[in-house]
Every structure is written in C-alpha cells, then in structure tokens.
Assembly symmetry: C2
Homo-oligomer: 169 residues x 2
DNA sequence: GTCAAACAATTCAACGTTGAGAGATCGGAG
DNA sequence: CTCCGATCTCTCAACGTTGAATTGTTTGAC
C-alpha cells in the first residue's frame, strides 16, 4: 500500500535521480497528514458550533485554571501561535456567542481579561469530550509502542524548532 | 528540556486528571510542529518570489515530466489538496508572472493544459535546490535512524487517512 | 441526432489570518 | 515629576482558501 508521498518521491526519482529526497519523505508527510487530521478534528468542533480557533481559546481557558480573573489576550495569542489581531477576532466571536467574558484589567488597563462564562464552560466541556474521543480514533491504527515512538520523535523536533522560534525574537 | 505540549499536558493533568491525553501528545505536536516547519519553508520560497502554493504547482509540473502538453487544472487540484477555485487563483498569479502557460486543451475543451515556461523552469529549479537544502537543515537534529522511524510512522498514518479520504468521496 | 446528466474550470462572496500601524497605558531613568 | 520607550490590544486593508453557483463541454442513453 502506497501513500501520496510515495508517488511524489517516485516521480522525483524518475526526473531528478540525483536529488536527495529523504527529508521530503518526512516533511511532505507531516504537511499532508496534518492537513487531513486537522480537517477531521474541525468536523467535531463543527458539531458543537465552534471553529478550531474558537475551541482553542476555550480549551486554553479551561485548562489554565484561569478562574474568574481569566487570561490576557496576549497569553492566549502566545498559546495559540497566532497574531494578536487573530485573537481579537476570535474573542469578538466568542463574546457574541456569550461563551466568554472580556473585561479590561483594572490593575493594568492595557490588558484584557478573558474568562469562560457558565455557558462557555459547558460548551467546551462537551466539545472536549468528543474531541478527545475523536483524537483517540484518529490514532487507533497505531500500536501503543508506535504511538510512543512517534510522540518521542515529534517532541524532539518540536523542542529544537520552538527554541529556534523563541531565539528569533 | 520541555516543549509547549508538555506544558499543555501538565495543565490538563492538573485540572482534569482523569482525561486521557495520550493522543493529544501526538496530535498537538503534529499541528504545532507543522506550523513551525511550514513557516520556515515559506521563508525559502519567499526569497524566490514565490508563495508555498505557487511553488507547489511549479514543482508538481516539474516532477511529473509533464512536457509541453502539461497537466490539467484538475490534476493539480488533486495533487495540491486544495479546491479547484484555489488552483484557478494560483494559476492566475503564475501566468501573470510568466512562469507557466495555460491553454485550453484542443482535444477536450473542458480542460486546461498547464505547463512550465522556460522562466518557470529556471525559477522552480533554483527554488527547489534551496528548498531541499532547507528541508535537510530542518531535520538535521534527527539521527538517520530516527528519521527513518519517523517517516515510517507518518507513512502508516497517512496511508490510513488517505484511504479514509478517498472512501469518503 | 437529441437531450439530459456528468464533468471541468471559473467566478464570487464569505471567512480567518497576517502584518503594519494606531491608540492607550505603564514603567523606569533622570 | 516628567517623559520616553516599551507594552498591550485593537483596527484595517490585503491575501489565499473555501464552498457554492455558473458557464461551457462532453458523453451516453434513447
């Protein structure tokens, strides 16, 4: 059984036999696989009336034990790997859906405090349960050992490239 | 050394100790890593005046030994995992840059034949060389054995999920 | 030979993100 | 105390993609 990257690499081998495509075998699969998996995940969020980026915000609030003080928009921006403008948009939509509250921090009026509303907490709890189940399903073809291996390898790469990213600032 | 996903999983363990986050350790890293790596790759394309999607088209034409007859827009759409509308846009831009030709196929006038121009071939050759070097650099932290392991694991998942995707049509 | 269904590419509005910049606020040096 | 630089959020236009509708073309059944 071949995947799409096998076909791509075979084409390169045919046309450019001298080309070293070993890295492409990894990076091409990373890209394509991530696209497929993210689509599958967004289907689940969809059934809860959420977009992936919106769920991301809600889940971050839930897991950070933010409490009534909440998190700042800046903290959410860092965690979500998107720009501050994107966060503003997401917060606008979530406020409109009454899933979060957004208030200027009285102690530092430059920052904004974002917290889950009661409805927001309910929605994210339900979405989270489905999301975790779905994630399990997406990886069910992997043995436990393979899953651990994969996590180890991805983690190693992520450590390196997150270090690059913070160093670049 | 911890990565960002370690911190996220620790937060979940703190707030929802009963939550099974083992799949999240893999999928979260896949997403974040892919985002970082794709940014690093698009920097290279940028130095050649190309966007990632544009390079994707040019590289597909190059490796498919399309010759003067070229490929159809539909073939490019399938290969690039984007909708036909996105392909039309990319082709518009590449035609404007005079990197490809686009002509109605006289044998089947519903389809369009896309081929590299001489300039397009030059540009994609140069970009490809830099791109491959860069890909090698992005994975340099991995041992040869780890790289093979990673490729094997990603390939297994991709086979499964590409089968799902084609079955869903 | 006709016509309806299938097919291919394009068009277009909606959408989310980016990147740059503005506006407001804070903090520390002097 | 003042002021300048740093910090935080929001604004806004530009951009690429999606998804659906449209136009044009081919195919096959009758």
């Amino acid at each position: 059984m071949a995947d799409s990257v096998d076909r791509i690499l075979a084409q390169w081998a045919n046309v450019r036999p001298e080309l070293d495509v070993s890295a492409m075998g990894v990076l091409g699969r990373l890209s394509r696989l991530t696209r497929l998996l993210e689509r599958a995940q967004s289907d689940v969020f969809d059934t809860h009336g959420l977009q992936p980026g919106e769920f991301d915000i809600l889940a971050t609030l839930l897991r950070s034990e933010a409490g009534p003080r909440g998190l700042t928009a800046g903290a959410l921006s860092g965690s979500a790997m998107v720009t501050s403008g994107a966060i503003t948009n997401r917060l606008d939509r979530l406020v409109a859906k009454e899933l979060i509250s957004r208030e200027v921090d009285p102690e530092n009026r430059r920052t904004v405090r974002v917290a889950l509303t009661a409805r927001g907490a309910e929605v994210v709890e339900a979405a989270l349960a489905d999301h975790v189940d779905n994630e399990e399903r997406l990886l069910e073809s992997l043995s436990v050992a393979d899953r651990r291996q994969l996590e180890r390898l991805l983690r190693g790469l992520l450590v390196v490239h997150e270090a690059d990213a913070t160093q670049a600032e």
